[in-house]
Symmetry: D2
Subunit: 353 residues, 4 copies
Amino acid sequence: MSTKQELLQNPIQHIDIKQHNVVALVDAMNHMAYSSRDLARAATIYDMMLRDTECGVILCLAGSLISAGLKQVIIDLLRNNMVDAIVSTGANIVDQDFFEALGFKHYVAGEEYKYGAGDAELREMMIDRIYDTFIDEEELRICDETTEKIINGMKPGAYSSREFIKEMGKYLAENGRTPKNGNEDSIVLAAYELNIPIFCPAFSDCSFGFGIVAHQHARQGKPMCSIDSGKDFYELTQLKIQNPTTGLLMIGGGVPKNFAQDIVVAADILGVEASMHKYAIQITVADARDGALSGSTLKEASSWGKVDLTWEQMVYSEATIALPLIAGYAYHKKAYAARTAKAFAQVLEPVTA
Amino acid sequence: MSTKQELLQNPIQHIDIKQHNVVALVDAMNHMAYSSRDLARAATIYDMMLRDTECGVILCLAGSLISAGLKQVIIDLLRNNMVDAIVSTGANIVDQDFFEALGFKHYVAGEEYKYGAGDAELREMMIDRIYDTFIDEEELRICDETTEKIINGMKPGAYSSREFIKEMGKYLAENGRTPKNGNEDSIVLAAYELNIPIFCPAFSDCSFGFGIVAHQHARQGKPMCSIDSGKDFYELTQLKIQNPTTGLLMIGGGVPKNFAQDIVVAADILGVEASMHKYAIQITVADARDGALSGSTLKEASSWGKVDLTWEQMVYSEATIALPLIAGYAYHKKAYAARTAKAFAQVLEPVTA
Amino acid sequence: MSTKQELLQNPIQHIDIKQHNVVALVDAMNHMAYSSRDLARAATIYDMMLRDTECGVILCLAGSLISAGLKQVIIDLLRNNMVDAIVSTGANIVDQDFFEALGFKHYVAGEEYKYGAGDAELREMMIDRIYDTFIDEEELRICDETTEKIINGMKPGAYSSREFIKEMGKYLAENGRTPKNGNEDSIVLAAYELNIPIFCPAFSDCSFGFGIVAHQHARQGKPMCSIDSGKDFYELTQLKIQNPTTGLLMIGGGVPKNFAQDIVVAADILGVEASMHKYAIQITVADARDGALSGSTLKEASSWGKVDLTWEQMVYSEATIALPLIAGYAYHKKAYAARTAKAFAQVLEPVTA
Amino acid sequence: MSTKQELLQNPIQHIDIKQHNVVALVDAMNHMAYSSRDLARAATIYDMMLRDTECGVILCLAGSLISAGLKQVIIDLLRNNMVDAIVSTGANIVDQDFFEALGFKHYVAGEEYKYGAGDAELREMMIDRIYDTFIDEEELRICDETTEKIINGMKPGAYSSREFIKEMGKYLAENGRTPKNGNEDSIVLAAYELNIPIFCPAFSDCSFGFGIVAHQHARQGKPMCSIDSGKDFYELTQLKIQNPTTGLLMIGGGVPKNFAQDIVVAADILGVEASMHKYAIQITVADARDGALSGSTLKEASSWGKVDLTWEQMVYSEATIALPLIAGYAYHKKAYAARTAKAFAQVLEPVTA
């Protein structure tokens, strides 16, 4: 039987799309069939989004993507002005990205653990498993505690997840968890530095939730912080109103997909006639046939007035394969060159700026 | 081309498990293979949960289930003391159940609409589509507005989704949207009457979100209501602490699955050694191979210390087929007969009670 | 570690649809959404096929269905005049049905074997695994040898799979492997007794293949038997020509689906203008998005002129759940009452009859 | 409404892996999670197969791969000595590869046709659809007729599919359907020139089936040709016996997967202790949970003694994305450089050679 140390020695390494020019490969896929053609069309649509300099690009993240080696892809999209806002599950942002920003790693699990054969012993060793990946649960507890510490440092009040995540970015910057200091770059840090807002509409459903529960437990009866998820929705809708042309780059489905689509309707409710998302791409393996939102087609979203029919594309592929190709295509086509950073976080905090 | 009226004339009818004794059928499936055996084992585990009278049963709902004809199944589980708490996506509770409680319906869409061929014309008519089901968007707007009205009637402050949903139940009771008054029964009403708490951890991500956005927009600068999603987590964790033996009946994955599993860890963080969920069932068609939480096995959850390995079962089936069989099995076995209602909502409001 | 005997003690038991009247349940599903509605519509179409007394019903079988507990369902369809011809993978007919007819069983495998954890030790014990089911490989070898014995007893020549399978039926009848003699009923026997032809278009790809290889090896240089798969196609096409109205009840996809659909085109090539299959149902979990035939929609088949668009239905469900409901529905509706047995095997052997 | 000519103007173009060096990209994927890591491991195993110069590589093809733009990938594997035998569905070899070798094309179908909206009008125009791809049915009929012509030219008797396909290759060579003559290269031609045997175990289930049916119909009562599918099995087993070390590169599942795996058992039945397939890779999106062979894990195959556990890898991906990466990796690593061509077709015809 392996020891904990033996099991946690082969870290996940994040793919660097800057090193792989896939433009010709993806262009070739455009003349094939099935998923390859869909993938190529999606890459082309992402390229169009970026060339349409008015378009605000919203990246949606669901599924365990950062633990899977896609962190650097997202960072590269942020640092190259290819994304203007993020809507994500909490796990990607806190348990995985912020966790790694604190200096921790995810680890490759051997094939034999993939189907659950060793889960009882993993439990004993406090190793958490995500399919074929290991996490040291003791390190994850430090991440939970760090979020509590950050919350404790804030003025009591109701905050959007974006405001909390901004504080997390500030924490990383102020504590030297930066490339400048020899540490790894992170999504939370890059977004903080670049004024790119990150929203987690179900923010208590992650490591941050443990922090807020601990915080509220300690402050019982006293002024405390709370997550105002309505404010999340309000803020993201403001961005739609201020920047009417929008495009969605969605990895996975879930709450982020629904939430980002819904701002079109929310704007309408606030009395502003908002245009549908002009561009929309989704990478997913979810089936449409169970009627759930995660796998529902973007055509279906158009019946709701959320997504325009002209430039939408579903890509049926697991994201670790498809995203490096789609993001790498757009990166190497340099479509971002003509864009000016939208710095959407500033839009939301005009006074502070 | 059909008119809106023609398209919206064949309402979805909710299956009534009380009319179909499937015990012998499901017992027969226990000796077969693949999904039928898994389904039978899941039904048996649900039966066990109910016979274990200490066990608090948490029902998790993700996917568009209520619009699909599963509303009465859930109501029957509530009214027969087979569920003690609900964790759900907002859409099931607000856009679908509360929506129908207001007197509206979902409609059968013809086969030819299923793959998106008519979405442009549906848009024109303000008909929203969920795979093979239609909704009148004008009616949905009334639902949005009703939630705003309810929020406007509340004292400014930060509330858990449970507290808001309780208000929605009160609204239905006070406005005669009850079976007693000749109207249809609803999940929100039944839960209100029976003190069964309903949590929507991503509560702004549904019709209620439109209500809260409109509310906050109108109240700018003045005291207002906010959704405190941390409080959701805190409250559900309290239930775990007060009622240590728990079982999960999960339809679909997403945030509800993760959130309900996480309370074991949250209790631990509050310094209470909590036992893992003793029983866990999930009905899903999500694939495990993309590593996302929705399709991840319950064995994987056991490595996180969230779910016990002994009585867990994944059922690979679309829910409209599997749930009537599993719920119907437990209903007709009458396992609930020995249970006392836990009335968990009272646990959370000792003073008010 | 368990012994072989311990692992092989819990036999798969075949579900008996005659015991479960699911008519009301399935009728209720007709007013729901997603797979339940599709399933109900498919059941209705199967009922229509049977009421259309001119319609020849072709049952297609792919996937390991017999080992999974669906044998009695198929036998009941045959013995109640609800199927007129079968097109199947070889495994279902030979390795599984004929195998059980010889007195052997399939066994329930424990949950812990499902994902491959014990495959190395199973290998040592000569236990073969199909997902969650065990087979004694030594018994399977006897099945292989029996097919060789049957082939050895035939006059050298090129035979269709149908002719071979008829011989297998005769073997069972003559060796007392019949219910009359206290043995279990089988598909091969019932089809033999009722003149229902069974085709396995890829007949060397199963236990029979081992028999024919051994036979041909022993007969090298001497007259021998061969499987003439062209004759299979020719014979099935003759049935289409003689009985123009046809319906397909397909469980799974693969070669049987394609083969049965193709006879429409084959008739055309023989100069007979054949009508498309008037009815078509397929139960499958295969995805359409990889372009493969198994998951391709029946609408796609209509572009090939193989399946009529009016009465076709895909059902997205694993077969062990869906087939008992669909077959049980049609059985209890007694649509077969007005039918006369088509005895298609006699059509193919007018002289012998 | 578009005309037939308008619909058939954008031909599928086959990807050329020689133009895309994906080695660094795939190596990077080896350190990620989920499908990307599986894909990288599969590529590595294919590379190992080729470096193990004793290993005979058997390529299995199921699903509509050639119509999807993967023809040139397969040709490149053949012409660079990276494959020693092929087991395929008939459609890939006859309806698609041989069809294109006759000068015909497959065409890109617009997004709007993908879900079946235009199938009725396609039918009228005699355009056949494979998901997002069009075929001119009139051209396909010429393909059918050509196979009949080839059969008519052969001496009456029972042939393996391999022997028929060799004749098809000879036909192409003798009729100038060769690159030398300015025509496109094809799998059938390349295999013919390189003595690489191609087996289609369900050979009547494709365009060739139409040819054999027409042939047998015309020859009724006279000596005729037949497809001896037992001979297919016998021949492939001979290859396993003569070249004990084998590896499987499987695209899709179905009959080819089962057939190629079964030769280990067949050898055993012929009294030759054969080793399991030493290497095995499968690219598929089929789910394991329905118990069907197509999606069954290679671990399961090891319980049957067919596939060794050490070097096996399932890759969960649609083939048009995964195969160019896996095949391209092995091609650019030049593992084939040290191999001598096995020319397995000569092994099967020692006298003719």
